[in-house]
Amino acid sequence: MRSYSSLALRIGVLAISLAAAGAVSAQDGITVYNAQHASLTQAWADGFTKETGIKVTIRKGSDTELANQIVQEGASSPADVFVTENSPAMVLVEKAGLFEALPKDILDQVPAQFRPTSGRWTGVAARSTVFAYDKRKLKEADLPKSMLDLADAKWKGRWAASPSGADFQAIVGALLVLKGEKITADWLKAMKENSSAYRGNSVAMKGVNAGEVEGAVIYHYYFFGDQAKTAENSSNVSLHYFRNQDPGAFLSTSGAGVLESSKHKKEAEAFVKWMGGKHGQAVLRDGDSFEYAIGNGEASNPKLEPIAKLDAPKVEPSQLDSKKVTELMTAAGLL
C-alpha cells in the first residue's frame, strides 16, 4: 500500500521536473512578445528560423497589455523582441527607456514616416483605418465625410467599433494628436452614445455583414482576409476610405523593437531586420495577412488600395499616447 503513495509522489516529482525542463528549454533562441496577429508573426518566425536556425518562442497578447507587461518587468523581462499591431504600445515601451537603439541599416529599410525619429524601434507593416459599411443599406452619398461626423446624432445606433482593442485605441491616439484632447473626449462621449461595442474588429465586421449595424470603424485587412477565405463575414460589406488627411484615414504603423534587457541582442536584431527586409515584406505581399508592406521599394498585395492613394494624415508615431487614450476612454465609459 505504501508503494502507491510513494509512486504518486515520484510521478509528481517527475512531472514537475519535466514541466520545469520544458520551461527552461523554451528560453533557447529568442522570445518575442507578439501583439500582431498570431498567424502573421508565426509566418515571420518560421521563415526566419528556416533561414537562420534561430528558434523563436512567441508569447501572445494584445498591444497595450504586453507593452505594460514589459514596462512592469523592466530589466528582467524575458522578452527579446516586441512586435505590435500599432505604434502606441511601442511608444509606451520607448518612453520607459527599455528599447535598444537600432542600427542604421535596420532603420533605413523603411521610409522615415514609418519609424520614430528616436530610432529606438521601427515599423514593419501598416494598416489603414476604414469605414466598413453594409452596402445594402448605405449608398455613397450617405457615408460620413469625416470620422468626426460619426459623433452626429443622426448616426446614433448605426455604427460599431471594438473599443477594447488596441487597433481602435491607436485610431483614438491619432485623433488625439490631430485634434487635441477636448475634441477627442467629446467624440468619445458621443461614441459611447452612438455606437455598439464589439469585441474585435472581425466581430464588428461580422456584425455589419449580418445587418446588425450599418457600419464599423475598423482596419482594412479584415475585409480582404475574409474575402480571400469564404467571404462568409463580408459578402454584404464594402469599404469606405475617408482620405483627405482625415483622422479616419489614419495609417497605423505596426512596430518592432529590441529590448535593452535582451540577452540575445544579435539574434533579436537579426529578426527585426528580417521582418522589415525583403523576405519579411514578401510575407506581407504573398501571404494572407493583407497588411501593407512598407519596406523601401517593397510592393504590397496587389488587391489593396495603394498607400499613396489613401491620403493619410501625417502623425509622428512617437506622439501616440496609449495611456492618455485609455484614460479618456475609461472616462467616457467605453472601458
Binding site: 507587461q69 485605441q169 472601458l335
Partner: protein, 526 residues
C-alpha cells in the same frame, strides 16, 4: 469555482482524542495554516491595491457610470437566469426521479451531460449557428443550458433521499398531489435549490468566454478588457474588488434564504424509496421537456461542431498546434490535480479527524476561494509575482499555484468524503507502531481513501482542462492549451480550425462528468 459544494458529504462524527490531536495535529495544522495563508492572498491583494491606489482614485474608478452599467447587467443576468434554471431543474429532477416517465435513468444522464461542454464552447455553438444572437437573451439562454446540471444534480439527489412518509401523510389528509408537492416536497428541496443556485450564480459572475463571445458585458469581461488595455492597472483591480463584493453578496443572500429550519426525519427507522408517480396520459408527452433540453444543450453544440468539422475536412486534425496544446492541457491538468490534492490533504484530514473551531476557520479560508472568479486570482498573482517574486513570474509554478487556489475547494470535498470512510483505528495503530503521523497518513489513510482522492483529482483536472482566464493571464511563454488555442482561433473567427479543440475538450471532460453523476447518486444514497 466548486462543482462540489452541492455534493458535500458531512464528515463522519469521530470523537477527537486529545492525544491524537496532539500527535498528528501540529504538523498538519501548520501545513493547513500555510495553505490558508496562500488562499488569503487574492483577498489581501485587492485590499492592498485599494490602499495603494489611494482612496480618491479608487473611489473615482469604482463610482462611475460604467460600473453602474456593469452592475445592472450582472444583476439582470442573475435575475433572468436563476428562476428559469430552478424551475427547469426541479421539473427535470422530478420527472427523472419521481415519475414513471419512460427512460428516466437515461434522461438523468442526458441532463447532466452538458457539463462536459465547456460554457464558452456552448456559446461558440450558438453564436456561429445564429450570428445575430447576442446580448442578454442569448446570455440567459446559453447560461441556463451550460449551468443547469449544477442545479439538477443536488435537486435530483435530494428528491431521491426525501422520506415519502410525510407525503403519504399529507395525501391521506386529503391533499391533492400538486398541493402535496407544493407544501411538502418543495420546502424540503430548499437546501438543494439554494446550494445549486449559489453555484450557478457564482459561475455567472466568473464566466468570461461565454459572455465575451455573445457580446454581453459583465464585470469579468470588463476586467479582461481593462487588463488588455493597461495590464494590471488600478482600474482592472478596482473592478475586481467590486466583483468580489458581488460574490460575497450572493453568498450572504444564499445564507439568508437557506435559513436554519430542520429537514431531517426524527425518530428511528429508515425511509423507503418513494414509489414512482404515474403520469397517466402525460407519460409520453412529458418526454418533450428532457428531450428539448438535450436538443438545445447537446444537440446544438454537436450540430455546430460537426458542421465546422465537415467544412474543414481532414486537414484540420493535422495541425501541429493541436497535438501540442493537447499535451499542454494534459500536462497542466495532471500537475494541477496532483498539486491541488496535495495542498488540500492536510486540511481535509484535519476537518475529518479533528473538527473544531480553529479547523473550521482554516477550512473556510480554503473554501471561500471557490467563490472568487479565476480572473481575480490571476490578476493578484500577476502583480504579486511581477513586483515581489519575480523568479516565479510567468513560470509553470505560478500557473499551478493559480490552479491550486482556484480548485482547492473541489479537492477538499472529494478528499473529505474519502478520508471519512477510512477507520481512524488503522491510522492510530500505524502510529502506535512507530510511524510518524505524516507517514501513517501517506501509508494507511491515503491508499484506503483512494476513491475519494481519485474523485478529487478528476474534479480538479476537469476544471484545469477547460480553464481559460487564469491560463491566458499567467501561462509561461510559448504555452498552449486546448482552451487558449480555441480562444485564439475563435477570436480570429476561424471557427472551422477551432472545432477540433472543442471536440477534444469535450472528450476530456466526459469521463469526469460521468464520475460526477455517479458520485452524486452514490454519496446521497440510492
Amino acid at each position: 469555482m466548486t462543482v462540489s459544494l452541492s455534493l458535500d458529504t458531512p464528515a463522519l462524527p469521530v470523537l477527537p482524542l486529545r492525544r491524537q490531536r496532539h500527535l498528528a495535529g501540529r504538523a498538519t495544522l501548520l501545513l493547513a495554516g500555510a495553505v490558508s495563508l496562500c488562499a488569503l492572498l487574492p483577498l489581501g491583494f485587492i485590499a492592498w491595491i485599494a490602499i495603494e491606489t489611494g482612496w480618491q482614485t479608487a473611489f473615482a474608478l469604482i463610482w462611475r457610470p460604467r460600473v453602474g452599467e456593469l452592475l445592472v447587467d450582472t444583476l439582470l443576468l442573475e435575475l433572468c437566469t436563476l428562476p428559469p434554471a430552478i424551475l427547469l431543474a426541479v421539473a427535470l429532477a422530478w420527472l427523472t426521479e419521481r415519475s414513471d416517465m419512460p427512460g428516466a435513468k437515461f434522461f438523468s444522464w442526458l441532463t447532466v451531460a452538458p457539463l462536459a461542454v465547456p460554457a464558452f464552447v456552448q456559446s461558440y455553438a450558438w453564436f456561429s449557428l445564429l450570428p445575430r444572437f447576442h446580448g442578454l437573451p442569448a446570455a440567459v439562454l446559453v447560461s441556463v443550458l451550460a449551468y443547469l446540471p449544477f442545479l439538477y444534480l443536488p435537486v435530483a439527489a435530494q428528491l431521491r433521499r426525501i422520506d415519502p412518509a410525510l407525503e403519504h401523510a399529507a395525501a391521506s389528509l386529503g391533499q391533492s398531489p400538486s398541493r402535496v408537492f407544493m407544501r411538502v416536497v418543495l420546502p424540503q428541496l430548499r437546501l438543494a435549490i439554494c446550494g445549486g443556485s449559489l453555484l450557478v450564480g457564482l459561475h455567472l459572475l466568473a464566466e468570461y468566454g461565454l459572455y465575451a463571445m455573445i457580446r454581453f458585458d459583465t464585470f469579468t469581461t470588463a476586467i479582461i478588457d481593462q487588463f488588455q488595455s493597461s495590464y494590471n492597472g488600478p482600474a482592472a483591480n478596482m473592478l475586481a474588488g467590486v466583483l468580489v463584493l458581488n460574490c460575497f453578496g450572493l453568498i450572504g443572500l444564499e445564507w439568508v434564504l437557506r435559513g436554519n429550519a430542520r429537514y431531517a426525519r426524527l425518530g428511528s427507522g429508515a425511509p423507503r424509496p418513494a414509489p414512482p408517480q404515474g403520469l397517466g396520459a402525460w407519460r409520453v408527452p412529458a418526454l418533450a421537456l428532457p428531450l428539448a433540453f438535450a436538443a438545445l444543450s447537446l444537440g446544438v453544440p454537436m450540430l455546430t461542431l460537426s458542421r465546422w468539422l465537415m467544412v474543414a475536412g481532414d486537414d484540420v486534425w493535422r495541425q501541429d498546434a493541436l497535438a501540442a496544446s493537447l499535451a499542454g492541457t494534459l500536462g497542466y491538468a495532471g500537475l494541477g490535480a496532483l498539486a491541488t490534492v496535495a495542498a488540500a490533504l492536510p486540511m481535509a484530514w484535519l476537518s475529518v479527524r479533528a473538527p473544531g473551531r480553529a479547523t473550521r476557520f482554516l477550512e473556510s479560508c480554503h473554501s471561500y476561494l471557490g467563490a472568487l472568479p479565476g480572473v481575480v486570482v490571476a490578476l493578484a498573482l500577476v502583480t504579486v509575482t511581477v513586483r515581489i517574486a519575480l523568479p516565479l513570474y510567468q513560470t509553470v509554478a505560478t500557473v499551478i499555484l493559480a490552479y491550486i487556489l482556484m480548485f482547492l475547494p473541489r479537492a477538499l470535498v472529494g478528499l473529505r468524503a474519502g478520508i471519512a470512510q477510512v477507520p481512524v483505528e488503522l491510522e492510530r495503530a500505524a502510529m502506535s507502531l512507530g510511524r510518524s503521523p505524516a507517514r501513517a497518513l501517506l501509508a494507511v489513510t491515503l491508499p484506503l481513501a483512494a476513491p475519494g482522492v481519485a474523485a478529487a483529482m478528476a474534479l480538479v483536472a476537469m476544471g484545469v482542462a477547460t480553464e481559460l482566464t487564469a491560463t491566458l493571464l499567467l501561462a509561461p511563454n510559448g504555452t498552449s492549451t486546448l482552451a487558449t488555442e480555441f480562444w485564439a482561433l475563435t477570436s480570429e473567427l476561424d471557427y472551422a480550425k477551432a472545432a477540433p479543440y472543442a471536440v477534444l475538450m469535450i472528450l476530456l471532460s466526459l469521463p469526469m462528468t460521468a464520475l460526477l453523476h455517479a458520485q452524486a447518486r452514490k454519496s446521497l444514497g440510492s
